[in-house]
């Protein structure tokens, strides 16, 4: 379960972060065009965050400029598996937050893009179900990570007297 969670959630977080930076505009060269692409992608993501009407435009800008990088770093940390309990907990907390926000928007019948990945994707019931599944997986991964940590390490089992 831990391995599945690490691969799936780590991969999704890395992809989600990259896609927010490199999609829908992915002109990689020359450098000023790449810079403009990333700036536009972040601006569009900020607009999507703002469309949830939960935080101010300034806070949306802050989220848009930080969340993709946080997702990439967290995804990599979970894939690596270093201090898994901490990062799995962080991912779970973030996913619970996403689930709450998406569910609220769905219940309010908001006609918006979910902003989950780089390209526009309409927020539907399926988005809520998908986020719920990811949250459940993250929760299980975190629980298993804590359970694993409680087991004695095979190399450090006490010698028989």
């Amino acid at each position: 379960m831990i391995w599945i969670g690490r691969l799936v959630l780590g991969g999704i977080f890395v992809y989600a972060g990259f896609s927010k930076l490199l999609l829908p505009n992915a002109h990689l060269w020359p450098m000023f065009v790449l810079k403009f692409s990333i700036s536009m992608n972040i601006s569009s993501f900020a607009q999507q965050v703002e469309s949830y009407k939960m935080i101010s435009p300034e806070a949306s800008q802050l989220v848009a400029h930080t969340l993709p990088f946080v997702e990439i770093v967290l995804g990599l940390l979970v894939l690596i598996g270093w201090r898994l309990r901490i990062w799995a907990t962080a991912i779970t907390v973030i996913l619970v937050g996403f689930l709450a926000v998406v569910t609220r928007a769905y219940l309010l019948h908001m006609d918006i893009n979910c902003g989950c990945f780089g390209t526009p994707e309409k927020l539907t019931g399926m988005t809520v179900v998908r986020d719920g599944a990811f949250t459940a997986l993250a929760l299980l991964m975190t629980i298993f990570a804590f359970m694993e940590a409680r087991k004695p390490h095979p190399w450090s089992t006490p010698e028989k007297a």
Partner: protein
């Protein structure tokens, strides 16, 4: 043990990175499947009449396109003069400007409103009037928006009277109102004289504007436009399509770089 895990993690991340990079071009290709144009044959609404959402409601999930795949990308123009189907009444600046910007926009899209209200005026003042940028407005009414085609018709009609600027401004600034009640006519009438309003209504009723809107839409499909706003920059034989919104400062930096290119 820890080292092995770290190595495995790095390898997995690298593989995923390559996979993501590989996905980008695939993703780009799949974007060419854009919503089909709304049927242009639909009868224009009665002037002053409010469209009921049930009548004109577009499907939530747009139907797959039939013609987009067949359409080929237009030849890369060396200057704005080489761009196809430019309505001079919906274009601003000099045709000989070093940079041409085609903005594919939908009057009912909130991001288009943001782009228009935050960037357009300053762009006009700093780059268009000085002859550095030729700005072309293109209609791309998305089928998911019930009134965007109606609004595009009114803006086109106003353009024929040389009143495109006040009408576009009114449509974007009052977007939240008319998208609720469908009163595009009232919004446009508020910024025109009664005589102009009557002419605009006659043009909208005439049904001659839909083919022009469809032409813009088809052109957008050739650029793989699948969301609004999308801005296509043309400079020195290069074409750069960008989807989404931009702040004026970001746009300014980009335009300066484009203009300084040799």
């Amino acid at each position: 043990m820890n080292r092995r895990r770290i190595l495995a993690g790095i390898l997995t991340a690298a593989l995923l990175g390559f996979f993501a990079l590989f996905l980008l071009p695939l993703h780009k290709t799949s974007e060419s499947v854009v919503p089909s144009a709304q049927p242009s044959a639909q009868t224009p609404p009665e002037p002053g009449k409010i469209d009921s959402p049930t009548e004109s409601e577009a499907p939530l999930i747009p139907a797959p396109v039939i013609v987009a795949k067949a359409a080929s990308r237009p030849p890369v123009p060396q200057s704005a003069a080489g761009l196809p189907d430019i309505d001079p009444r919906k274009a601003f600046g000099s045709k000989n400007a070093p940079v041409a910007m085609e903005v594919f926009s939908d009057f009912q899209c909130p991001a288009c409103k943001t782009l228009f209200t935050t960037t357009n005026r300053r762009l006009m003042d700093d780059y268009v009037t000085s002859g550095k940028v030729y700005l072309i407005h293109r209609d791309f009414p998305l089928p998911i928006h019930a009134y965007s085609r109606v609004a595009a018709r009114y803006a086109r009609a106003a353009a024929q009277l040389g009143k495109v600027e006040p009408v576009e401004q009114a449509l974007f600034q009052n977007q939240e109102k008319w998208e609720q009640n469908g009163d595009v006519d009232g919004t446009v009438a508020a910024v025109l004289s009664p005589a102009e309003t009557a002419k605009v209504r006659a043009l909208v009723k005439g049904g001659t504007l839909d083919p022009l809107i469809d032409k813009d839409y088809a052109l957008g499909q050739t650029y793989n436009v699948n969301q609004t706003p999308t801005t296509v920059f043309h400079c020195k034989g290069q074409t750069y399509p960008f989807a989404g919104i931009m702040t004026y400062d970001i746009l300014k930096q980009f335009l300066e770089q484009l203009l300084s290119q040799k």
